[in-house]
Structure formats: C-alpha cells, structure tokens
Symmetry: C2
Subunit: 312 residues, 2 copies
C-alpha cells in the first residue's frame, strides 16, 4: 500500500504550472495517461479533489491551493538533498596522495588504513613511504596531498597540524638486566642508527647528545637503510637503539622484554600532518586525521613531563 511518492508531487506541480494534463505530461517525460492516472491516484490516496477539471485551463481546487505551497516545500527539500549529494560525492571522490615517513609507516598504517579504505571506496588512496625532505618538497609541489611525519618541518608555507606525541623507548638487545635506563647509561659504541636522511636519526642523536662522541669510539659505522634492518642488526649484534612507542608493540619484530623506558624527562616526537595551504579537501583530511587519532589514542594516552625532540 503506497503513500505519496516524489514523482506524484512532481506531476502535481507540473499540472498546476501548465494547466493541462497533456502539457504537464510532456514536461515530466511521461504519457498523458500516466499523468492523468497518477494525479487521480494521488487524489484518491489523500481523499481530496485537488484539481477542477471543468475549467480551462485546469485550475486547482481550494483544497489543492491550500496544499500547494507545502507540496512545493517537499519538492524544494528533495532538490536540496540531490544537490547536497552531488557536492558530497565531489568531495569524497578522486584521490588522496599520502606521503609517510618509514619510521611511522609500518607501525601506524596497519592501525587505520584498512578501515579508511573500506569507508571511502570512491577515494583512491596512494601511499608513498619516503623521507621528510621528499615529503615536504612534494607537498609543496602538489605532487602529494598530505604528509604524515614528525613535526615541525622547516617550511613555514605549509600547513602543519600536530596529531599526537610519541615517546622514545630504549631497545637493548642483550639479556634483560635493567628495570630503567638513563640516557647516560646508553653505550654509544653499541648504538645503531638509521642512515642519514631519517629525521629520527637526528632526533636520537639529539637525545643521546652524541654525534661526535659516537664517531670517535668505533671502527664500524653502519647505518641501516630500513627500520627492519635496523631491528635485525640490533638484535643479532646485541646492540642498542631508541624506538618510538608504536614500533615497540610489534612483537613479531623484537623481544618486547628488552624495551626500557627512559627515566627523568621523556623524549618525544611530534607526529602530525602537513598539507599545501590551498589543499581543498578539508573534510576528507579531517576524516584521515580522525581515523589516525582513533587508532593511536588508546595506545599512547596522555604524556607528562616530556621533552619534544625536533627532527632538525
């Protein structure tokens, strides 16, 4: 048992406008008999005569006139809905090109990317795992829409938004012996770092205050190209490194019993996003940001007594 339908309203308004069943049918791209039948059906459904067929052109009855503006209102809101649908489709269509640094990518992406991709099937997400400099350059050139990386970046022309603070922990691959670590407990000769170019390298060096100190005390300098290699080398050489908290959760990559907090002030890095100032898809960006925050907030919680280590 049907109620009033949108096409019926459309036919009614066309008939009121044209004064003729034939012309109204033409305007609505249906046959005259369809329009006649549908108007009659509407009148039967609501129990009122809406049109006076004895006048020429056809005019509305008083009841029809009493309802006309409300029929128009329904039609107007339907048109508003259809327009908003188009606007919404345009925003959540196309692509979003994301650059993310390698010290975040393998730990953060698994936490939110599948859900994001499923939520927005019409958006083509593109992920590039590249370094901070490459990210900032390509965002500036509009080759990337968003960068996920450690902030701040040394580019005041880009929009920067901090998402969360991520603390560093000590990974000592020897048998567990210390409940707590102090920075000065770190033996620079056993310290392994990622190669230059990774902002985290700079951050760890800052934490340990040990650029020159480290070069003078070892005849082997090895800088890993990837964080996986880093973890493998630290493990196999019973070395030490500093890891961001999200990395320490991956039990498949390391022995979580060998992870130690640093006493005193906790060194942290700011993780956030950068975009070009003219980047338009603000709602999609907010979605990305909200998904990331939803994913990491339960893990990282709130930080106290921290020292932010900048990536440059």
């Amino acid at each position: 048992m049907t109620s009033i339908s949108i096409p019926q309203i459309k036919y009614l308004l066309a008939l009121e406008q044209t004064g003729s069943f034939s012309h109204a049918a033409e305007a609505c791209y249906v046959t005259q008999s369809t329009l006649s039948t549908m108007i009659k059906k509407l009148e039967t459904q609501i129990g009122l005569s809406l049109f006076d067929r004895s006048s020429k052109p056809i005019r509305m009855t008083e009841e029809g006139s009493a309802l006309l503006s409300q029929f128009r209102q329904v039609q107007l809101e339907m048109e508003n809905l259809e327009e908003l649908i188009q606007l919404t489709k345009n925003e959540f269509y196309g692509s979003m090109r994301i650059g993310i640094i390698p010290t975040i990518a393998p730990f953060l992406l698994p936490l939110f990317l599948d859900k994001l991709v499923n939520k927005y099937p019409n958006v083509n997400f593109s992920i590039d795992e590249i370094t901070t400099n490459d990210i900032t350059n390509r965002v500036k050139l509009r080759e990337l829409d968003v960068g996920i990386l450690s902030l701040p970046v040394n580019e005041k022309d880009l929009m920067q938004q901090t998402l969360f603070l991520e603390d560093f922990l000590v990974y000592d691959a020897r048998q567990p012996s210390h409940k707590n670590y102090k920075v000065k407990d770190i033996d620079p000769s056993r310290l392994w770092l990622l190669e230059e170019g990774h902002c985290m390298t700079t951050q760890i060096e800052k934490i340990c205050v040990l650029r020159k100190q480290r070069e003078s005390s070892s005849n082997l300098v090895y800088k890993s190209g990837s964080i996986l290699s880093l973890l493998e080398l630290v493990k196999s050489n019973k070395g030490i490194t500093l890891l961001p908290r999200l990395a320490t959760l991956r039990e498949n990559l390391l022995d979580t019993n060998c992870i130690y907090s640093l006493t005193g002030t906790t060194p942290v890095r700011k993780i956030g996003v950068i975009t070009h100032p003219n980047f338009a898809k603000k709602r999609l960006l907010k979605i990305l940001v909200d998904e990331i925050l939803d994913a990491v907030k339960p893990i990282l919680g709130k930080k106290k007594n921290v020292q932010v280590i900048n990536p440059y």
Copy 2:
C-alpha cells in the same frame, strides 16, 4: 529508472536511529531483507556509501552524516504535508446548509451552484428557499450555516457580509411606450407585489411610497406567493412591478423590452450573507462568497448615485 523514494528515506533514518538493520526493519514494518536491499539500492543510486557495516552498532559514514540532516528535512516536510492534508480534509468535508430568499434563488443559484458543487464533491450542499425571517431564525439556531438574502437583517448577533448591490428596474407589461420611468409615473392601481413576508415587498413599497395610497384605490388586492406567479400575473394583467436586475435577465420569464430603468436616484438592495458568529468553516464560506461574486460581477458592475432600500 527510479530516484530516491520516501520509503527509502524512512528506512535510512530508522537505520541511523537504531544502528541495526533488523531493528530498523521492525520499526518500518518491513522485513530485514527488504530494508537491507533498499538501503543498498539507495547507496547505489546516489553513488555513496552511507553506512559503515563493520561497526556495531552500525554507524553512518562521513558522507552519510553529511547528508543526514537534509534527509531529515525532507522527512519533516513530508510529515508537514500529511498533517496539512488532514487539516484540509476536515475543513472541506461534511455539509453546508444554505438558506436563500425566493427573490434571489431562481436568478442567482443557476449562475454558480453547479460549479460550486462540482468543485467540492466532498461537501454536501443543502439549499432551503425560505424567507428572511425564517433564514435569520434558523441561522441563529444553527439549523442553517449560511443565509443569502437582502441586508441588513435586524439581528445584531449574526455576522453579516454584503456581497453586492442589486438595482431595481420597472417591469411594465403593457406595450412599450416609455424610454424612462420616474417613480411618480408608476400607477399604484396596476402595481403587483409579492405577499407580505417578502422583504422585497417592503422594499418596493418604500420605493413607491405607497402603502396607504395603494389600499385606497383598488377593490382587488392580490399578493402572489411566488415570484413566478407574480411575473405571470403582471404579464397577463398588463400590470407593473419592480424587479431586481438579476431577475430581468431571464428572457424565458418576461419580455425584456418591457424593462425600464428608473431615472434619478437608483433604488438598490444589498445582497449578502449571514452566518452564526461561531461558524467555523471560514474558508468554505469564502469559497461560496468568491463563487457568487465571480458570477455576478460581470453582470452588475459598479453602481452610481444609488439609494439603498433596506428590507425592513
């Protein structure tokens, strides 16, 4: 190829409200499979994913949320329409009982009654052709809804609304001899009137200033019970009477060549409607009034230099 339908909107809002296809289906009195299919169809039609099925309870996607308030707006306007339909049905249903005086009924009703009855098939019109006193009494007692008669009535508790002024013309059944008539030209011995009780009788007596004058100059006093009898008697006895203009148009009842205007000030009567002060169907009354005015305005036009003759 269908577009968005009202039931689809209803299902969407129910799903957003309940967070479950099963509960939403229940609330909408359809099966779960119907609701699932219709939501999917809506999403396909508009090209957007509106619900995230992986969360429990089910939540809207960002696009769905962006459109939600506009969907609600459409629903609200549909509800407003349905409510207004009910209000409108209540006003234009039932009956309208009309009293009309006999010196108006046969000339005015044919001008508008068929059209009115066809326009409002759901209204039961009831017409009583009775005198002014009967009309005013029965409107006071709510036995009639409306009276159509000569105004004013001597009842200040009734609502009175003047519709038009109707002038009187002389009907002299002798062979046409005068281009113009003055009141003093009227031979009281040949004057025929309706019987007492008809306000028009009083009006004509006032016009001719001749109550006592007439009684003293004739041994035959005949007062017709109906205006048809009056016209027949005036015709067959080559008498005289005064007729309201609408009556003079009926060529089937009299020789229109025997109709004369009165020179000098034109005597007219006010025709209008009376209703009980608590009569509620104001819109239907307005319809009746507008139909009458539409019918008589082209005939009567605008009056100049008139003297209103009251019916009492």
